[in-house]
C-alpha cells in the first residue's frame, strides 16, 4: 500500500504544479500516464488498491480541471439534469453490458458445459495429444470471441493443465501450451464484439456494428490461431497419448482453481479478508505461498489460519460445505500419506459428478440465452438505436432462470464481484474525458494523421496501442486511443488497428491483461516464470504476429478494404 500511496501523492502534487505553472492539458496527460503506469504496480494488490490509485488521481485531475475551467465546463456537470452525458463519460452502458455478460458466463461456468466439451474432445481424439492441443487452441479462440477472455482463460487454463499433467508432459512444454492459451484468449478472441471489454468499448463508443468484427477482425484472429495451431502441433508431436478418463486431479483443480465460479466472493483470500477473519500479517505470507503455486486453502492453513476459518471461507467460496470439508480433509490426509486420502478423493469425485449431473438441466437455458444474445446483437446490427447491453442482460436473465435456487444468489454475487473489479476504470474514463474536452486527443490525432496518410496513422495506432497495453490496462488504452480518431473519416480503419493492437499487447507481458495474470498464476503451479522470462518465451511469437498484423493492416489500407465513413450513432464526443 505504502509503495503506491507515495507515488500517487507525488503525481498529484506534480500535476497541480504543472497546471499552475505550465499547462493544464499537460498536467492531465501526466496524471493519466502516471495512473496507467501505477496500475501495473498495483496489479498484484487487487481491485481495492487499483481503485485507490485511479480514484485518488481521478479526483486530483478533476480538481485541476475545475480550478482552471470551472465546474460547468466538466462533462456532465454543466447542468444537474445532464445525467446522460455523465453516464456516457463513465461508460455506464458498458458496465451494464458487462454485468449481463458476467451473469451469463457465470451461469455457463456453473453448468460445467465447457469442461464437458473439452473432455469429449479428449475422448474423441483417442488421447492423441496433437489433436487435443489443436482442438484446445481452436476451442479457446472460439470461446474467447464470445465470452470475456478472463473467464475463458480460467476455464480452459484449468482444463488444459489437468489434461497435460495427466499426460505426463514436461513442465517446459506445459508452459509453452499455457502461453498459447494467453495468445488465444487475447488475439484469438478479436473475431467478435463480445470477446473483450476493449471490443465492447470500441463498438459502443465508435458505433461499430457487430458484423464489423466478423468482416475485418476475423482475419487477424485467424492468423494468430493458425500460428498457435502450428506451435501446438510441434509441441505435441511424438508425445505419448494421454489418458482419456477424467482424472481425480479434476476435482483437485476444481478446488484449487484461481478464481472459483458461482462463489460471489472472488478468491479464497479475498473471501477471508471480506469476512474479517484473517490477521493482516498473514495476508502477505499467504500471497507469497500462492505465488509459489501452493493452493490457496493450503497456503492459508500453512500460514496459521485456523482450520475452521479456512473451512468457513472455502464453503462460501465454493458454495458447498461438503466440497470445502472434503478438500481440507483430503489435503490433510495427503500430507500425512494416509490412505484415507484415496477414499476422500473418491467421495469428492462422486459429489462433483452428481452436482454436474444436476446442473445439466440448466444447459437448455444457457443455449436459449445464447440464442437470445445472438438475435439481439443481430437486430442491433440493423437498428443501432437498440443498446447492445440489452443483448447480454437478456441472455443473462434467461440463463439465470435455469440455475438452481441455492446457487442463484452466488451467481449474482460473483457477477457483481467481477463487475466491481472494473470499477477502477471509472476515474480513468473521467480523466480521459477531461483531456478530450480540452481537445487533447484531437491534437494528437491530427499530429498522427499528419505523419503521412491513413496507413502510417493506422500503424502508429496499432503499434502504440500494442506496446502500451503490454504494460497498461487495455480498456484505458482503448478509451484513450478511440478519442484520437473520433473526428477522422478513417475511424473504422483506426478502430480496427486499435482493436488488434490492444489484443496483441494483451499477451505481451504477464501483467498485460487479466487473462495473462490468470494463466501466469496457473503456470506457476508447474514452473516459475518471471516477467522477463515471459517476454523471452513469448517475444518471438509477439514480434512475428506484430509484423504480420502490420502487413495485413497495410494491405487493408492499400486495397481500401475498410471503407472510410462519417461516424453515426456514437458516444465518443462525450469521452
Amino acid at each position: 500500500m505504502r509503495k503506491i500511496i507515495i507515488p500517487v501523492l507525488a503525481v498529484a502534487a506534480a500535476g497541480f504544479l504543472i497546471a499552475q505553472f505550465v499547462d493544464t492539458l499537460l498536467a492531465l496527460a501526466l496524471i493519466l500516464a502516471a495512473a496507467v503506469a501505477l496500475l501495473s504496480i498495483a496489479e498484484g494488490g487487487g481491485a481495492r488498491l487499483k481503485m485507490i490509485v485511479t480514484f485518488s488521481l481521478g479526483l486530483a485531475a478533476f480538481f485541476i480541471f475545475v480550478s482552471r475551467h470551472g465546474l460547468a465546463a466538466a462533462p456532465g456537470f454543466s447542468d444537474i439534469s445532464e445525467f446522460q452525458l455523465l453516464a456516457e463519460t463513465i461508460h455506464l452502458n458498458i458496465f451494464i453490458f458487462l454485468f449481463g455478460l458476467y451473469v451469463f458466463v457465470n451461469c455457463l461456468s456453473y453448468t460445467g458445459i465447457v469442461g464437458d466439451i473439452a473432455w469429449k474432445v479428449v475422448k474423441l481424439s483417442g488421447g492423441r495429444l496433437t489433436i487435443i492441443l489443436v482442438a484446445i487452441v481452436l476451442l479457446t479462440s472460439f470461446l474467447a470471441g464470445i465470452f470475456d477472455g478472463a473467464t475463458v482463460a480460467s476455464i480452459m487454463g484449468i482444463i488444459t493443465l489437468t489434461i497435460l499433467l495427466s499426460g505426463g508432459m514436461s513442465s517446459k512444454d506445459i508452459v509453452s501450451v499455457m502461453l498459447l492459451l494467453v495468445i488465444c484468449t487475447n488475439v484469438g478472441g478479436v473475431w467478435f464484439v463480445l470477446g473483450e471489454p476493449t471490443n465492447v468499448l470500441a463498438a459502443e463508443k465508435m458505433g461499430i456494428n457487430p458484423l464489423f468484427f466478423l468482416r475485418y477482425a476475423l482475419p487477424f484472429a485467424a492468423i494468430a490461431v493458425a500460428a498457435a495451431c502450428i506451435v501446438a502441433f510441434r509441441v505435441a508431436v511424438r508425445k505419448p497419448k494421454v489418458s482419456k478418463e477424467r482424472p481425480e486431479m479434476e476435482v483437485l483443480l476444481e478446488g484449487i482453481s484461481l478464481k472459483r465460479v458461482h462463489a460471489g466472493h472472488g478468491n479464497l483470500l479475498e473471501t477471508m479478508i471480506n469476512l474479517g477473519e484473517i490477521q493482516v500479517k498473514m495476508i502477505g505470507k499467504i500471497e507469497e505461498m500462492i505465488d509459489r503455486g501452493i493452493p490457496d486453502f493450503d497456503a492459508a492453513l500453512r500460514a496459521g489460519v485456523p482450520e475452521d476459518v479456512v473451512h468457513h471461507a472455502l464453503s462460501i467460496n465454493l458454495n458447498s460445505k461438503e466440497l470445502s470439508r472434503g478438500l481440507i480433509d483430503y489435503w490433510n490426509a495427503r500430507q500425512k500419506k494416509d490412505p484415507m486420502a484415496e477414499i476422500i478423493i473418491g467421495d469428492l469425485l462422486e459429489y462433483v459428478r452428481d452436482e454436474y449431473k444436476k446442473r445439466r438441466k440448466s444447459r437448455v437455458f444457457i443455449f436459449t440465452g445464447a440464442g437470445v444474445l445472438l438475435v439481439i446483437l443481430g437486430v442491433h446490427s440493423f437498428f443501432q438505436q437498440l443498446p447492445t447491453w440489452v443483448s447480454t442482460l437478456s441472455a443473462g436473465a434467461v440463463a439465470f432462470i435455469g440455475i438452481g435456487a441455492t446457487a442463484k444468489r452466488s451467481i449474482l454475487g460473483q457477477a457483481w464481484h467481477d463487475l466491481t473489479e472494473a470499477f477502477f476504470l471509472i476515474p480513468l474514463f473521467g480523466i480521459i474525458s477531461l483531456i478530450n474536452t480540452m481537445g487533447g486527443f484531437e491534437l494528437i490525432g491530427e499530429k498522427i494523421l499528419s505523419l503521412g496518410g491513413t496507413a502510417v496513422g493506422g500503424l502508429t495506432v496499432f503499434f502504440s496501442s500494442g506496446l502500451v497495453s503490454s504494460v497498461a490496462d487495455n480498456i484505458a488504452v482503448m478509451d484513450a486511443v478511440t478519442n484520437l480518431m473520433a473526428q477522422s473519416v478513417h475511424w473504422q480503419f483506426f478502430s480496427l488497428a486499435a482493436i488488434v493492437g490492444t489484443a496483441l499487447g494483451g499477451f505481451g507481458s504477464p501483467i498485460a491483461s487479466v487473462q495473462a495474470i490468470i494463466l501466469s498464476t496457473l503456470i506457476r503451479r508447474v514452473s516459475r516464470i518471471t516477467f522477463f522470462g515471459w517476454i523471452k518465451r513469448i517475444g518471438l511469437f509477439f514480434l512475428v504476429l506484430a509484423v504480420l498484423y502490420a502487413a495485413l493492416l497495410f494491405l487493408f489500407d492499400l486495397l481500401s478494404v475498410v471503407p472510410d465513413a462519417p461516424r453515426v450513432g456514437t458516444s465518443a464526443g462525450a469521452g
Binding site: 470439508r325 472434503g326 480433509d329 490412505p339 477414499i343 462422486e350 459428478r353
Partner: protein, 152 residues
C-alpha cells in the same frame, strides 16, 4: 469410538461372493435383515454408484465401501470378514478380506461419515492387529479386538 457405530451383531463371517458387487449386496442384505436400514434397493444403488466412481479398497486387505442415504439414520456400519478375499482394486493391489460397510445420512457438510471412515481406517493399521482379526473365531472376539485397537 467404534462402539458408537457398530456392535458385535453387525459383524458377519458368513459372506462369500465372486466379486465386490456381490459382496456389497450380501453385506447390505445382512444389515437390512437386522433392521439397520429400511430401503435395501436404494442402499445397494448408492454404494455401488460410489464404488464405480472410485474403488474403496485401502491397504492390508481392508475395503471401506460406503455411501450417503436419504434415510433417517446417523451412521450405520457393518463388517464382513470374507472366507476368500475379493478384489476391491485396493491401493496396494491386495485382495480384500475385511469389508467395512458405512452408511450415513445425507447432510450438508458431510463431515460425519468422514470421521466414521477415519475411525475404522485407524483400527486396521497394524499388521499385528490384522493377524489377530484374521484369526478371530467369533464376531464377538473380532469386535473386542477392534475396540481395543480403537482405544489404544
Amino acid at each position: 469410538m467404534i462402539e458408537d457405530y457398530l456392535s458385535a451383531e453387525d459383524i458377519t463371517f458368513d459372506i462369500s461372493g465372486k466379486d465386490k458387487f456381490e459382496i456389497i449386496e450380501k453385506l447390505l442384505s445382512f444389515l437390512h435383515e437386522r433392521g439397520r436400514i429400511s430401503d435395501l434397493h436404494c442402499a445397494i444403488q448408492a454404494v455401488e454408484h460410489r464404488e464405480r466412481v472410485r474403488a474403496t479398497g485401502l491397504e492390508k486387505g481392508v475395503a471401506i465401501p460406503h455411501a450417503k442415504l436419504d434415510e433417517d439414520i446417523r451412521i450405520v456400519a457393518g463388517i464382513a470378514r470374507l472366507k476368500e478375499p475379493v478384489d476391491f482394486q485396493a491401493v496396494d493391489g491386495t485382495p480384500c478380506r475385511h469389508i467395512v460397510m458405512i452408511l450415513a445420512k445425507r447432510v450438508p457438510g458431510g463431515a460425519v461419515h468422514i470421521s466414521a471412515l477415519s475411525t475404522f481406517a485407524r483400527v486396521f493399521v497394524t499388521a499385528e492387529r490384522m493377524a489377530r482379526l484374521d484369526a478371530a473365531r467369533t464376531p464377538e472376539e473380532y469386535f473386542t479386538i477392534l475396540q481395543k485397537g480403537d482405544h489404544a
